[in-house]
Amino acid sequence: MSPFQSNKNILSLTEDILVRIYEILVSESDRKSFRLVCRDFHRIDSLTRKHLRVLRIEFLPTLLHKCPRLQSLDLSACPRIEDGVVSLLLSRVGPGSNSLSLGNWTRGLKRLVLSRATGLRFSGLEMLARSCPFLESVDVSYCCGIGDREAAALSSAVGLRELKMDKCLRLTDVGLAKIAVGCLKLEKLSLKWCMEITDLGVDLLCKKCVDLKYLDVSYLKVTNESLRSIASLLKLEVLGLMVCPLIDDVGLQFIEHGCPSLKVIDVSRCEGLSSSGLIFVVRGHGDLLELNAGYCLPELSTALLHQIKNLKHLEVIRIDGARISESSFQVISANCKSLVEIGLSKCVGVTNMGVMRLVSGCINLRVLNLTCCRSITDAAISAIADSCRNLVCLKLESCSMITEKGLFQLASFCLLLEEIDLTDCCGVNDRGLEYLSKCSELSCLKLGLCANISDKGLSYISSNCKKIHELDLYRCRIGDDGLDALSTGCKKLRKLNLSYCNEVSDRGLGYIGRLEELSDLEMRALHKITGVGLEAVVAGCKRLADLDMKHCEKVDDSGFLSLSYYSRNLRQINLSYCAISDTALCMVMGNLTRLQEAKLVHLRNVTVEGFELALGACCERVKKVKLLATLRFVLSSEILETLHARGDNHRSWCTAAQLTCCLILRLYYERQPLSCHAHGNPPSTEHRQRTVEMAKFPHYLSSANFFTIGRFIDGRPILVACNQPQVH
């Protein structure tokens, strides 16, 4: 008898064997299947898990407790994380009172993503930095409140190699200096949009962090002096200088003689540059791999071309917006043999002949962007298909001379094609889509404004391109049948644009509801759909995170109520011009706890009280609300202040927790609103008493909780508003 027969149950395998088995599984879906087998298998998954991305902060403590070997923690989907939460997470897991034995999860943590965590402040960051001894990579991008103190807290993570601080608006040179002095091992630093950073900070950074390999100072007001400092970085490989308006050719001259390891440079949209500046860069760095010079050159001059010729290893070149001659294509094609990506978006002078010459030499091309190169025709596409068999991405927006013949060629040879943009290519028809459906790897297809395609064409795509996850059908003449085919074929669809597809009705949306992966749905101005259709969508697409239903005027409250019930993962919503009522708006804004951005203009059925109520219910967590400007004068100042404070341009120091502390809760019905009169049922003193009791515990009472209490009282929402901050 073999030993395997005696062990009839797979669960009798020991833990380490199970771990080994699990580790052999590579693909994420396989692992998912594995952990769904049983509790033990799930435990194995947790034990060995190295990466964790949490969608809801409520489950974070238990999840972290279960995953002791975590190396990477992504909290970017929980923007509401705050110092208090951090402190809780760090203290909770340790047994007893000894807080020195912090949670195991921090022990091995190397990577931490805190992107968009606007509530996080220095104490939380410092705790994190101190408790994770092996922290190597931190992402605090778009944490608009992060300033110098937070940077100082981060700088205590001395082992830090990677730091992403994009759009940390309050960060100044002082904070940068803290990081530069504290994290001397820094190799990768992104400072995009940190508008307060100046040359002094960059200079100090370059003096202290000499190991920098990646530096992004895009959008900063740095001058040539910064480039002089940057040029001294011997190990720098990637340099991002996008939209640095104060940089000119003199600055790039420093780069010519410095940065000996430079491989990638991005100077796109730098207004001060001319081709002579780029000549400096190219002349100094013969083994450049990537040159991104989009929208900074009026034309590709022969002198620059002469230098580019020497870049034998160049893989990526983007010269969007430049004028380019046919002979230039010949030169590039003959010399830059290793090109993988060419960006010619909005270039003037791109002709069939030019493209033919270009692709004749660049056979390794994988990405080709010909957006708005309007003069190219099927001949160019044929040449591309003929030469570039490895093509993965082709962008042909507004190339309206392309017809099904070109697509036929493309589909015959470029079988690896994953992404194609045919927006506004009127020559594309159902036949063309039939050809295109041969590209079974296709994952992103954009057909916006293609007026000549119908349900038939869509059915070809649906039946063959199973991997599509992004589909743009903006203003296409697509009906319910097309969506039927789509929902049966393209199960992986994550992003769908159905705006202005006027034929689509509730039945079509019912099919959409079958797409379980769908997270991003744009369906503006679908005049036929009603609440029934919306309900079908939100009930089916549980992952929906971004919904745009502007001008869907027939959708009634039943739809919105189901939206507020089902779409708990919704992060962005556009309800402008919808016929939503006060109640429904309050339900939506109050119940969708993960909502961050809402566009609420021209809601004709919503009263000022309705807005006040709805915003009061969500003002603490939304980051961006679009409202009519006139509302500014009628909304209560507390709500406006809170919205300002929580917004992306967050300037005050108040965190959400402090705000909650400072709230005085005010009951709406004391003001005798419509809702109470409508019921003819003024709330009893008992109810009032109860609410006030709750108000004594502001920490436990988020507005959302209070909103539910309000519903409990009389079935109608009660306004929770924040009055003057109260000091206890």
């Binding site: 208090g84 809780l88 410092e126 103190r149 120091w653 927790a657």
Partner: protein, 490 residues
């Protein structure tokens, strides 16, 4: 003709005359024009070479044209030169008058005479120019005072030659240059003269400038040979006396200028004149005086005359400031910052202008008025970081002290209890928890730089060494410790 006899007087004349014996010489207007333009050209070339030199020549031209206005600053040789030039110009003027007069009377004269006269005029002009330029070269170093008169004088010189050419400023003259091919040899000469003169006077010139610059306090750079000046040493009491007027002979100080003038009478009869006793009109210094330097009475000081590498002080004011700064207590304390001390009240006033603006603070406690200075400091010293300003540091910490956390934070022992109670509510955590978390582990919480606080966290019974005043600027340097002193007091 007597004029003819005078021509060979100038040595360079014959040489030049021969050189100009070319066909173009027949054209009178060109010839008149060319030497001046040649001069002119040399002037512009110098203008481009050295901007300081150019106005000097203009000044000289000015002096030559208005010969009577020659200043008596120069040795007699210069005066000789100038008077010779004046003579020459008068002769030439006479000759030209003569020619004009004859032209009116007799038109059909033989050509030889006209040519002869033309040659004479040319020769005289040449000699004048050469003389003028060489004189100008010798005038160079002190010529800078005539700078404001530069442009108009040049125009005058142009009128004098009978040819009005554009005033020689900038590139206007470039168009004339091809015309001057013949005259460019002349321009070579003044250039060389000019340079040789310049080298000779260089040193003197620099010293002059230095004196102007360092009126109040001479620190370094003066290289007077010992013995060439008189050394005065004031007594300590004299220096510290609140005097502002000092006798230039004996160094005695007075509160009032009138007292000084009375004192001066004792030094000799020349001070007894009504002119000397009246208020001075700043006209002193015309006659050469002995250079005076001062010595510091403090033995061992570098400014003391017995020191091996003695460096004298230039004025009495220098002595006063030096003595107070170096050898006296710093008794003036800045009322704003209460830290900076000065011994010279002027220094305090200077400091007070900037005090409080030193908002750029390093972790080592040094303050800087400018951000770039701070960053330079940080770049220089390892481990130093900029400190974050106080207001900002307190802002986030302030509100969190309020609320219900206030009592519990004071009791260190109760914090674990608080934790466990918070656990039950996962979503809403008091903002005070983070502070409690920070108390738990002070040693690990503070940055390595703040070692004093680390020690403090470890040994509570130890007295706090330097941080007696929690309000001092150092207190908030320790990252995250802003709450700390308050709690530890309990």
């Amino acid at each position: 003709m007597d004029l003819k006899d005078k021509v060979p007087q100038h040595p360079s004349f014959t040489q030049h005359q021969q050189k100009w014996e070319d066909p173009s010489i027949l054209d009178y207007s060109t010839r008149i024009g060319s030497p001046f333009l040649a001069f002119n050209q040399s002037h512009t070339s110098m203008l481009s070479d050295n901007r300081i030199k150019a106005p000097v020549q203009d000044g000289v031209v000015n002096q030559l044209v208005q010969a009577s206005k020659v200043q008596d600053w120069d040795p007699s040789a210069m005066l000789d030169n100038l008077s010779f030039l004046e003579q020459k110009i008068h002769q030439l003027q006479d000759l030209v008058h003569l020619i004009i007069g004859r032209k009116g009377q007799v038109l059909g004269r033989p050509d030889e005479l006209v040519v002869q006269q033309q040659q004479l005029v040319t020769a005289d002009l040449t000699s004048i120019i050469v003389q003028l330029i060489s004189t100008a070269g010798s005038l160079l170093p002190s010529g800078k005072h005539t700078l404001p008169a530069a442009t108009p004088s040049l125009e005058q010189s142009g009128q004098f030659g009978g040819v009005v050419f554009p005033s020689a400023q900038g590139p206007l003259n470039d168009g004339f240059q091809p015309q001057n091919a013949g005259g460019s040899k002349v321009s070579g000469l003044p250039n060389s003269v000019d340079i040789s003169r310049k080298n000779g006077n260089e040193q003197n010139h620099i010293i002059e400038e230095h004196e102007l610059k360092d009126e109040e306090d001479v620190e370094e750079g003066e290289s007077l040979i010992p013995g060439t000046y008189e050394i005065l040493q004031l007594e300590k009491e004299e220096i510290l006396a609140p005097h502002t007027h000092f006798c230039t002979i004996c160094g005695k100080g007075f509160k009032r200028d009138a007292n000084l003038r009375m004192h001066m009478r004792g030094h000799g009869d020349e001070y007894k004149t009504p002119g000397a006793l009246a208020k001075p009109n700043k006209e002193s210094g015309s006659e050469p005086t002995i250079i005076k330097r001062y010595s510091c009475p403090y033995t061992g000081c570098k400014r003391n005359k017995d020191h091996k590498k003695f460096q004298p002080l230039k004025t009495i004011l220098c002595v006063k400031n030096h003595y107070k700064r170096t050898h006296c207590d710093k008794s003036y304390i800045c009322s704003r910052c209460n830290t900076k001390k000065f011994s010279v009240i002027a220094d305090l006033k200077t400091h007070e202008k900037h005090c409080g603006k030193d908002k750029w603070l390093c972790s080592c406690g040094t303050t800087f008025s400018r951000k770039d200075k701070l960053f330079g400091h940080i770049a220089l010293f390892q481990g130093h970081t900029p400190a974050i300003p106080l207001e900002e540091a307190k802002a986030p910490a302030g509100p969190s002290d309020q609320g219900d956390g206030n009592q519990s934070t004071n009791k260190v022992g109760s914090m674990n209890f608080n934790f466990s109670s918070n656990v039950s509510s996962e979503s809403e955590v008091q903002s005070s928890t983070d502070i409690k978390g920070s108390i738990d582990d002070p040693a690990g919480y503070f940055s390595p730089l703040s070692f004093d606080t680390c020690n403090f966290g470890g040994f509570h019974e130890f007295p706090r060494p330097p941080f007696d005043d929690s309000e001092s600027s150092l207190a908030f340097l320790l990252s995250g410790s802003c709450n700390y002193p308050q709690k530890s007091e309990d």
